[in-house]
Symmetry: D3
Subunit: 276 residues, 6 copies
């Protein structure tokens, strides 16, 4: 369940429709009812089906839907994803906005699925990051789950992650972790970002729960994991690509976080046809 996304849908319809759809307003009788079909033009992993329905429903509350697909499904080119029956005016006016949501979220789910597939069986957790499109955090993290991966923090409020800039500002890992530990709520673990073995050692000594190896090369990662053992969870981050992810997973790392899942997925190709 994606949940209510009224605010973003409203923003989207306002920016597209403005004071009116000058083409459709003229051409289409206000009360004419037709059926439209949303069709895949390539193969992909579906995400955003309910959101597309919300878009149409917000233009015609009597809109009805017929589908056998679910978010997370693998779709083949040519598949009919969703049939929508309602006012033709609303179908034509909402088409682009509904497709814009679908094509972007499915694009993220599809790109994510490729990373998941390449690391299947390795026991590693693939996650997103906070490198999401502003305003789309919840939606894009939902699409990542539909692709089969897991979510990292939702925001700055539900996870403690001490990064390079924090460490520099505090004067060292030890100082930073100590300060956090004193104020830490009972529900949160502590993660710290490190860049070399010396920092790994300092982080471990300070007793953190998770260590993020930031932009380390494969040898540094292997040495770090060997050194850490069971004393903390290990996360790898930075520049992970489809080419490198399998080798990374094989190191025994616990978590691989990948910004590209949300910031560099391309949209998939989907179209809508009326009266078919």
């Amino acid at each position: 369940m994606i949940g209510k996304n009224e605010r973003l849908i409203r923003l989207a319809l306002e920016e597209d429709i403005g004071p009116g759809d000058v083409t459709t307003d003229t051409l289409i009788e206000p009360d004419r009812v037709e059926r439209a079909t949303i069709v895949a033009k390539e193969s992909f992993v579906l995400a955003g089906l309910e959101l597309a329905q919300e878009v149409f429903r917000s233009l015609d509350s009597a809109m009805s839907f017929d589908t056998s697909s679910h978010d997370g499904d693998s779709i083949e080119s040519g598949d009919e994803i969703l049939k929508v029956t309602g006012k033709l005016h609303a179908l034509l006016t909402g088409e682009r906005t509904a497709l814009n949501f679908l094509q972007r979220l499915s694009g993220i789910a599809t790109f994510t699925r490729k990373f998941v597939d390449r690391t299947r069986g390795a026991g590693v957790r693939i996650t997103d990051t906070r490198k999401t499109t502003p305003g789309w955090r919840k939606l894009e993290k939902y699409a990542v789950r539909m692709g089969g991966a897991r979510n990292h923090r939702f925001g700055l409020y539900d996870g403690i992650l001490i990064k390079d800039n924090h460490i520099k500002a505090c004067g060292g890992i030890t100082e930073a972790v100590e300060r956090v530990r004193k104020n830490q709520g009972q529900f949160l673990r502590i993660e710290v970002e490190v860049t070399d073995l010396k920092e790994v050692e300092e982080a471990l000594k300070s007793g953190v729960d998770i260590i993020m190896l930031d932009n380390m090369d494969i040898n540094g990662i292997k040495r770090s994991i060997g050194f850490i053992g069971d004393r903390a969870l290990v996360e790898v981050s930075g520049g992970v690509s489809l080419d490198s992810v399998a080798e990374l997973a094989a190191t025994g790392v616990d978590i691989i976080s990948i910004g590209a899942l949300t910031h560099s997925a391309r949209a998939v190709d989907i179209s809508m046809r009326v009266m078919e």
Copy 2:
């Protein structure tokens, strides 16, 4: 000038910060002032500089900025794009949101610039489409302009474009154009989407101002342009890639519209360092 984007910035900060930045709140003294530098990690075309500043300013109204870059500039890897001086707390809390705006808009400008460069001198107008990220229409169209291309319609309200679904619903190009002409405001031209030469002919006969050749192959496009001559502007749309755009431009077409500019650009790599 991008203009006021308060609503989206507020949405972005709310979703990232929520009730508070649990790491920074603990580590950083509320009144400590420092300088941060935003640095390019690859070469790209810049877009979103003012927006990034708006993000920081909305967290600390006394934030000051120092930069010699402008949106639209070509940036080299390692360039310092912007120096920001203000509360360290605001710098660290706003970092990700500011970078998320910058990396996406610059990504679009950069991808756009490539299409523009490959068609330079051909006298063709490269434009975006309405395939934008919901909620980001204005921003993404701004980034396209920074990349050197032009904007197509902003929405359904500022351009008449009769598409395949409209034609099917009305029973033909002629009928659709006639209906539109009767209700057309004095300020708008009429464009119609066609898929073959027979439709080109019908569109011309109905007296439209612009003809969009949708997903035609290169031969169909050449024949259509020859047939149309000076009688209407010609736009080509559908599946245009960096590989095909130069050949398309050489056909003498007036406008090439490309959805990928906004829906499939990857983010560029930008980071922030404090106290340097």
Copy 3:
């Protein structure tokens, strides 16, 4: 179809009801259901029927309506325009707001119809202007259409109109038109405002699509129209009254735009009676 006007209806109900209707709250049982009738107290052209219903429905979602009237209809004094059945409390609390919408929009439609009637057969297009009540642009332009006239631009975004202040700021018509043409989107024509024959000539030479004769006397208008011929559309604007409109229309002008349609129409007299 007026479309969703939730924001303005909400503003209107909030400002009228505030924390509660102190009279009705005391007098009327919360669940009592009655029927009310909205009655014309003079003859007029109807506009706003759906909006009035939206007002009542936003106070009682189970409100039902019975009417044989449509926006655009000519209403006679004494006609029962709408029967509304629902909670008496909602009927009495919503009465004034519903009537305030109806009386203003119908006032505009009625005033507009008079201009349209006096120019019937002359082949001229009567339009409104941007001189509308702030917050009411869409509604008032809808009422103008119900009165039988056409809409000019909706705003600054869907039509290029180079006015006197633009020309002065740019240093001349030619300079202004050239600058616009370079940046003009493919969908928009160019209109320029002129005040004498010399400017008409300059505008024509610069190749604009529409020429607006601003506050010219009838002789100037005739001479200008003769001079322009088929080379551009001609619009007349400024101080048009019911007395002058027929003579203006007879000049063969294409468009007459009239600010008074929206800024100086008086409200029509409508009342509501319960339990009849």
Copy 4:
């Protein structure tokens, strides 16, 4: 002091500017500063001066203003009401919205002043009604005060007024007044609307503070006032015009409320010139 009207100003600018002023964006350099002068094109009573400034300031926060006029002043045709210095782009983009506020509010103040002038010395209170433009209640009631008249209720929450529909629903004036008295807050008086002498008598007997004579002819009004004497305040309402108001005032009535002040005032003629 009008107070903050951000919500309506924002609505107004959004509906006029939308995604951008296509004419001014192209023609005017973003940072060019000029002065504009707002000039009266007829004589009127001024209202809305601060609001017009708020409009310009919301487009350019550095805008500065120079004026010797105040709301409530009598303005002569040709008077320079306000000089505005700031970004030329903001001046041209905000011109219409600022003028739309000024022309409507000054129109109401001007029309109101005529009623006040015709009843000067009669000791009667001229007031508005709740027949205001939805969304504009506060502004229009402010303009009425600038015209020299007084405000009736602001809404349903700050005055008890038992109207015909309430009386019919309760089964009589006596029943309605009794019910209200039992629940009445300590701060509010009670007013009841009556249509003939018999109802006047019943209202008086029930002990109300104010009696509204609704749509009575002049003889009925005189008889009612004679009968009521000092036992209650008397208000006359319904169809009051400039022609009838002096005779009404001479009857010794305490309050005359006039819907036309706000629902049927015509806008006054005001324009803006740049660079003069």
Copy 5:
């Protein structure tokens, strides 16, 4: 009827749920339907029943309710106040917010009822003040009514109350009352706050409708009431407690206003059990 409280409910759900209920999202199947029972854990006066239902309904629009209780009822410990049937996910996610509304409003109604009970028969009106929780004015004043007391002003707009700071700023009671009288709307009475007999006398002479004795001791109150007689309504305010209220009521005062009703009521104990 409390009316629509969407804005506060939305604020409440947003602050509690944020991006998701991490416990319930994992544990509960999205479509599973169950019944929950809201149970009193102590005896109290009920207020907020509809509001609690609005909370659940805003999470699951198909939620159904079964209750024989009404706001204002005396509830015994162990009573089942409300049965709610709907999605188990919505029940568990909405539980705390629904209970938070119920426990606070019922707390106020319960505390209020005690004051009302101790003054029953004395002919005095017990009222609240404006010392309410910001954002909760309407709700808390509703709960006060459910407790059996009456409402004082809703805000600064629906009652004229000249307080100590106003008097000091104007230079005296007489000056203040005169200024108010000149501008007073026809619907509002005037109340003035006094602190000793000399001010009582001055207030009476100025002709006010209501006199508030602020923080006077019992003897001062008695003397003031004797002196005022029928010439004005008398209100007592300041530091009224359950211990002192009966003696105060016996003085013959008309109104006793008590800030503690809303600012110092403790919440009552209510819990929710699922599947019982």
Copy 6:
């Protein structure tokens, strides 16, 4: 730092001022500047000082402040907490809202401080719960920190707490914990609520991080703590009072969470005097 609370302040000012302060608008010259002093009428712990300033500033942006107090300070009766200089109109209109924020938040800080004082030295963490006033979550949790205690979860999103209803719905502690563990983000620990020793044992075996003893008697609590030892953190919740808290703390429990801190604190007495 409380942060921006614009939304709640705006709600509060809207509900109190509505269309205008009818007393102050009449009595006070719009531009008159004075100084007001906020004074403690009893001793308490201060919270909300910045918020009170935000209230005044939102009515007069030029308001200036003078104070030597800080949130968290112990205030004595008679202390001058804050001097505010600005428009007298804004001072009088904002007084009640500013005090309403201060008196409630300081009430919570004061009540919290008592619990903290009684457990000082016991090494126990006193926390609030989610039993807060809807819309006030962040503010009330801030006041709790000013009182010297710590915050529990902010909402349902930043802590996993498996409660009785979850356990019942899942069929047991073991099943619930297993299901959560499978989906748990890397940043969150798991807490489970238990009511007897048998459940303590089951919870421990399932490997949870924190065990909440819900409404257990003191003997049950002691036995549970002895049994758990170092294997998990122990939290006690339910019906904790000032009388019982010291004995509870002495058991060696890690965390005591207390709903009364936020739902049953009484407001402290604070007033404002102008021109002193």
